[in-house]
């Protein structure tokens, strides 16, 4: 027995160069044992998660289940009590250039004196730097990102004069300008019109086709199966994670929502385990 395990160890060392990279260690985003607390009650408790590349993952769960909190804690936007985060196998501090983040639309004051193009240009901050001059190529890049979300005509509009859906598209354009490999979006479909939802999903699918990892905090269970490849179910603790085809089940939803979903609602969803 001792001999066998020794052999395995040797084999592992020999095969290191050839071995396929460990899927967890090099995943676009992996969190281990993350716990976050506001006050005394944990908002997220000891959560492990791995978000894959070339796929769209939905983080779903009831209100107050810690969906946004998990995302923000992974990014270091809010402090973690414990846990580790790795981005493409690196600590987040060295991998920030590969991450684009779209906060909840309601988290900012849209009365801020800025135009649409001003906001998109914020996505180029890492390339321009604190004191660098904005080049014509960078401005063109920002305009191209606006075009991708169908907002070219609004470049000089003050951001407060946009509809909610248009504001969400501006946020997405800013994320596109970051040219990232991992896109983290906090409720990108909340309160947007149908045209915007279409525009956003088209962009996200093209990102996925380019091999990027897309992770969305998502509310609408009806669209999970059509939009997403992976789901991550959370209610303070992790309930389940995996491909939609095997993990988006009535049993898992019941475990996540604790019976708060009506049975009739569950029946209407395209679930992996139809009743």
């Amino acid at each position: 027995m001792a001999l066998r395990s020794a052999q395995v160890t040797v084999a592992a060392q020999d095969g290191q160069a050839l071995r396929a990279p460990d899927p967890v260690a090099s995943a676009p985003l992996a969190v281990r044992g993350v716990t976050v607390s506001y006050g005394e009650k944990p908002a997220v408790f000891s959560v492990d998660a791995t978000f894959p590349a070339g796929a769209m993952t939905a983080i779903i769960g009831p209100n107050g289940a810690g969906k946004s909190t998990l995302l923000k804690a992974a990014l270091g936007v809010i402090p973690r009590l414990s846990g580790e985060v790795s981005v493409f196998g690196q600590p987040i501090e060295t991998a920030r250039a590969r991450i684009a983040y779209v906060p909840q639309r309601a988290s900012v004051d849209w009365d801020f004196p800025a135009s649409v193009i001003d906001v998109v240009l914020m996505g180029l901050y890492r390339r321009i730097g604190l004191l660098g001059r904005l080049t014509g190529a960078q401005r063109a890049k920002a305009n191209a990102c606006l075009a991708r979300v169908g907002m070219s005509d609004f470049a000089d509009r003050q951001i407060g004069q946009l509809s909610g859906g248009q504001q969400q598209r501006v946020f997405l354009a800013r994320a596109l300008a970051q040219d990232a490999d991992l896109y983290l979006l906090d409720e990108p479909f909340a309160g947007v019109d149908a045209a915007t939802e279409r525009a956003i999903i088209d962009v996200l699918k093209s990102l996925k086709a380019d091999g990027k990892a897309v992770v969305c905090v998502h509310h609408d269970l009806a669209t999970v199966a059509t939009y997403f490849d992976h789901v991550f179910l959370i209610n303070v603790r992790k309930i389940a994670e995996g491909p939609v085809a095997t993990t988006f089940t009535g049993a898992n939803l019941n475990a996540t929502y604790g019976g708060r979903l009506a049975a009739t609602h569950i029946d209407q969803l395209a679930l992996a385990d139809p009743a």
């Binding site: 923000k72 990014l75 270091g76 936007v77 501090e93 920030r96 991450i99 983040y101 906060p103 639309r105 309601a106 988290s107 900012v108 004051d109 849209w110 009365d111 801020f112 004196p113 800025a114 135009s115 001003d118 906001v119 914020m122 901050y125 890492r126 321009i128 604190l130 004191l131 003050q158 407060g160 004069q161 909610g164 800013r174 983290l184 909340a190 309160g191």
Partner: protein, 311 residues
């Protein structure tokens, strides 16, 4: 506009202008961060800071005063945070409690201290003494500007406020992108890896430095007014942050110049005998400018402002 102007009006006017600009610049960001009261708080806590610095050093000189005031500002910011978190009290109330208490403590300290030999009292703290900052050596009118003897006799407040104003301008320019991004969307700035905590703290410290230097020369009334009135008026003139900054500087300069002139000559125009406090008049003019932009500013009625946002 001859030698009399250079001797008696040029330096107070310049000091008023520089103090107004130094306060208005950080005021733009404080207002956009919904922290306008911080400016108010800082200008109040400056008093106990300066008194304590005087008690410790026994002299009224710029550096200990600056350090004392900055120390008091830091104490105030920590107190405000502590009251907010431990007492679960809303930020405005926490600020109000902190700065009034510290200001009152400063007044008590001042009363118990022998400051009769130095230029430090409550009235001076509020109004400053802009009119006294004259350039008496400038006997040759404008030619004094190239006379080294006369230049050496410039009021030292002018040099200090010029230095601080230059520092505030430089900090605003250098950290422009950090300030803009983190003020608009702090979560996004965090995700970019920007030191948002340090940016917010640095802004408050910069405001404190501006407040102390301005306080030294012109008293806290101008400081409070200039943190809020020119930036708030500027916001109503434009929808671009860059242009808002320029407007706020223009309004600050206009307030200082008009306020100084009205204080000196206004009472005479209406038949009164004595000039009024320039600091008070400058603050009043800035308030009037804000009033006018509220009535006539091109961007005074913006969509969604003051209404519940439907989400």
């Amino acid at each position: 506009m001859g030698s009399e102007f250079v001797q008696f009006s040029l330096t107070p006017m310049l000091i008023g202008i520089l103090a107004s600009i130094a306060c208005a610049l950080p005021g733009n960001f404080l207002i956009l961060r919904k922290q306008a009261l911080i400016g108010d708080a800082i200008s109040h806590v400056v008093l106990p800071g300066i008194v304590v610095a005087f008690l410790l050093t026994g002299v009224v000189s710029a550096l200990p005063m600056l350090l004392g005031a900055a120390g008091a500002a830091v104490v105030a910011v920590i107190l405000i945070e502590a009251i907010k978190r431990l007492g679960k009290i809303e930020p405005g109330a926490a600020m109000g409690v902190t700065f009034t208490t510290l200001f009152a403590a400063g007044v008590l300290l001042l009363e118990q201290t022998d400051t009769s030999s130095v230029h430090l009292d409550v009235e001076h703290a509020l109004m400053g003494n802009l009119e006294s900052l004259i350039w008496f050596q400038a006997r040759d009118g404008w030619a004094s500007l190239i006379d080294p003897v006369a230049l050496a006799a410039l009021p030292p407040e002018l040099g200090r406020i010029a230095l601080v104003c230059a520092l505030v301008v430089a900090l605003t320019l250098v950290f422009w992108r950090w300030l803009k991004i983190s003020t608009f969307d702090e979560g996004f700035a965090d995700a970019l890896g920007l030191p948002t905590g340090a940016i917010g703290f640095g802004l408050v410290i910069t405001a404190a430095i501006a407040a102390v230097a301005a306080f030294d020369a012109v008293g806290s009334i101008i400081v409070i007014a200039m943190f809020i009135c020119p930036p708030a008026a500027a916001r109503l003139m434009t929808n671009s942050l860059e242009r808002q900054i320029w407007w706020s500087v223009a309004f600050a300069v206009l307030s200082a110049v008009l306020g100084y002139v009205f204080a000196g000559y206004g009472p005479l125009w209406i038949g009164a005998q004595h000039a009024v406090s320039a600091a008070g008049m400058i603050a009043t003019v800035s308030g009037l400018i804000l009033g006018l932009t509220c009535l006539f500013g091109p961007h005074r009625s913006r969509i969604g402002v003051g209404k519940e946002t439907a989400t």
